[in-house]
Amino acid sequence: MKAREAKHGTVKITAAPHVRTADSTTRIMWSVVLSLLPVVGASIWIFGPSALLVLVASIAGCLLTERLFGERGNSLADGSAMITGLLLGLCLPAGFPLWMAFLGGVFGIGFGKIVFGGLGQNIFNPALLGRAFLQAAFPVAITTWPVRSADWWALRGDNFALPFMSPGASDAITGATPLGNVKFGDDPVITPLFDLFLGNISGSLGETSALLILLGGIYLAIRGHLNWHIPVSILVSVFAFSGLFYLLGLSPFSPGFMLFSGGLMLGAWYMATDMVTSPVTNSGCWIFGVSIGLLVVIIRIWGGLPEGVMYAILLMNALVPFINRATQPRKFGSASDKSEPAAEKGS
């Protein structure tokens, strides 16, 4: 079955079709990486060298694990481990100890992907699984959010903490995220929407600029490298449900605030759209997206955590096989017939 590459002067005998689209899995993966570069740049601009260090550590964890345990020899080349590393790094705080970020990458690829059989076989988004592991293992470190510092070169936390040592007291200034602020703050402050949109807030690396994530996502949608049904249904669902609860007086969050705060943008455009862990049918994608949106709203308003995007997506990842089964395409020839023939119109 493996295509034999013909050298000059040899004849190819292959099965039809003999032509293929230029799109390839490898190209899709690397274009996702490309579209994330502005977000990476913004996180470094906001959080300084710490952001770069955290990203490098999580990427290193992912690539190394893929290289050592990946089944196919060249599985690094397909770019999927790179995406996992990038996305994991982007949902960590800047002051996160590097060894933890590295460990998150190892867990995400190792237990999130390779134990299932590698690319295409995993049930959960590997980056989110890595983050869920870190959240469970290091709940304090992962919720220590640095704010913008006057000195760009200063580390935003104890990045170089040694494994299993309690992080030293850091002189970086930390602050609550906009979501945490509203939910748990003594003196709730609603962060202005415009700041949320541009990213002038505290939060994890990639949580900060909704604008750049939106641009990257739209680029991918235009190229056909992500299924736009998923982000659109998630965002519409979050807006609708949070608006409903806001109007009913059950929620302190306005729908606009809900859309642009926390990890929703990154989750909707980059995490939930992971092709491997999302439904294959468009109708399935609507069910998937709307459910994620509803879960996010419920967790944010009534849950014990300030943010719910990660668990909402992971939960729905687990249900994808069932969604796929429930949304099989209808059999051709089973539609109710239209009696009016279209033929006469054109001639």
Binding site: K2, V11, K12, G224, V280, K331, F332, G333
Partner: protein, 447 residues
């Protein structure tokens, strides 16, 4: 996704499908010319769906162009005629485009013959009783020239309980590169229409719709201009989309109705014939010429002189290539038919057949193969499949030999159009897997 929205033309079509690069401008403006008669003709007894024909000649026999050399060996079978005058050399196994060796009649072509037909009495189409028309068509060896080569006389006798009320004439030619149907419509519109008239008479109906993809505006115009006024014949421009020319897709586009799974088009009162088929039907009643040659497109960036040629069946691939200036240095793959469903050829000795609408010589750049990666469940194949299958699921089942389960997922509806393989970013050979699974399944069911 967005590009898909931009490509919607508003013309009638079907759901899903793909838009491979058309590459038709390589040959679409080149009028067909006659290929010189080769020194030898090889005519397989099986050039159609159904039982192979029964040979009527023996080595040493002299045959004229158009003589019957093999007769149909059953209802679903077809006649084979000598496509050039000469002497029968032998009847032996010879490489066949479908892959295996097949019994074939080898004829040494007489270099001094004028290659005219034996004069014969031609029945006037209007005087032949309606029910005998299909018999004349059968004797002329007419089969569907759209690619499947299904004997036409069988189609002309639909089941009693499923009367046909509309003839759909297929001028879509949705396969990239191919322009033979296009040239047939441009160069022989009166034959296409005359054939439609005869087929309508055989069916006892008056209505026909000619479906043509909108990338052939000149063909649409000429077919409209030459349509006879006394019959209900209309021309329907259709969206350019592969596989618009598949029977079920054409019917869906023109009537808005779906042929039920496992049923023939006659189940909804339709019958589909290719434009080249109707043109050859016309010849049978005009000059008595049976189906012995057709326009074929020779194209691709691996051939020196792409063009359209009238080629007698049985001409060997090597003779066709030689007449077209030979191969370019980067020629990599030779395909009979279009690039989406055509068959790769392993030998230059294979003869062209009735169903050979085109011969493609693809260069390395045109048929690049990439490594097969694991399925990432992107769902692009589901959006491509014109008969709404789930190729992603079926591909996974095929790889673990769960053929019965594939049948439950409507493997039978798959027409091997190749859309799923075409779009797959991981280059999984889905339609190849399905072709093999169909064979495995029929073996299981036979056992």
């Amino acid at each position: 996704m967005v590009s898909r929205l931009l490509q919607t033309s508003g013309l009638p079509s079907f759901k899903n499908g793909v838009h491979p690069p058309e590459n038709k401008d390589l040959t679409s403006a080149i009028p067909s010319r006659r290929l010189p008669f080769p020194a030898e003709i090889v005519l397989p007894l099986s050039q159609h769906i159904g039982r192979p024909a029964q040979a009527l000649v023996k080595p040493g026999d002299r045959v004229e162009r158009g003589d019957v050399i093999a007769e149909a060996s059953g209802y679903i079978s077809s006649f084979v005629h000598a496509t050039a005058a000469g002497t029968v050399k032998s009847i032996e196994h010879w490489p066949h485009p479908a892959g295996a060796m097949q019994p074939s009649v080898r004829i040494e072509v007489d270099p001094h013959s004028t290659q005219l037909q034996r004069p014969r009495l031609v029945p006037h189409w209007d005087e032949v009783p309606e029910e005998q028309l299909s018999e004349e068509i059968s004797k002329a060896g007419i089969v569907g020239l759209g690619g499947a080569a299904f004997p036409s006389h069988v189609k002309l006798r639909p089941p009693e309980d499923q009367p046909v009320d509309v003839l759909m004439v297929n001028g879509c030619e949705c396969e990239p590169y191919l322009t033979s149907d296009h040239r047939t419509m441009l160069e022989r519109p009166e034959h296409v229409h005359q054939g439609i008239r005869i087929v309508l008479r055989a069916l006892g109906i008056r209505r026909a719709v000619i479906g043509i993809e909108s990338n052939k505006p000149d063909a649409i115009e000429i077919m409209r201009d030459t349509a006879p006024g006394d019959l209900d014949i209309s021309v329907q421009p259709l969206e350019v989309k592969y596989p618009q020319g598949a029977e079920k897709m054409l019917i869906k586009a023109v009537t808005g109705r779906e042929v039920p799974s496992g049923k023939l088009p006659s189940a909804i009162g339709a019958l589909v014939q290719n434009v080249a088929t109707t043109a050859s039907v016309a010849l049978v009643f005009e000059t008595g010429q049976p189906l012995i040659e057709r326009i074929m497109t020779v194209s691709g960036r691996g051939i020196r002189q792409p063009g359209n040629w009238v080629i007698p069946f049985g001409t060997k691939l090597s003779d066709v290539i030689a007449a077209c200036g030979g191969l370019n240095d980067d020629a990599a793959e030779i395909v009979f038919g279009g690039p989406m469903m055509g068959q790769s050829q392993a030998s230059l000795d294979v003869p062209v057949l009735k169903a050979t609408g085109g011969i493609l010589v693809l260069s390395n750049d045109e048929c690049k193969r990439q490594d097969i990666l694991p399925c990432i469940r992107c769902g692009k194949c589901l959006e491509a499949c014109p008969v709404f299958l789930n190729p992603q699921l079926m591909g996974a089942l095929a790889r673990v030999d769960r053929f019965e389960e594939m049948a439950e997922n409507n493997l039978g509806d798959c027409m091997l159009c190749g859309c799923c393989s075409y779009v797959c970013p991981s280059n999984i050979p889905l339609s190849q897997l399905f072709a093999m699974s169909k064979i495995q399944l029929s073996r299981l069911q036979a056992a």
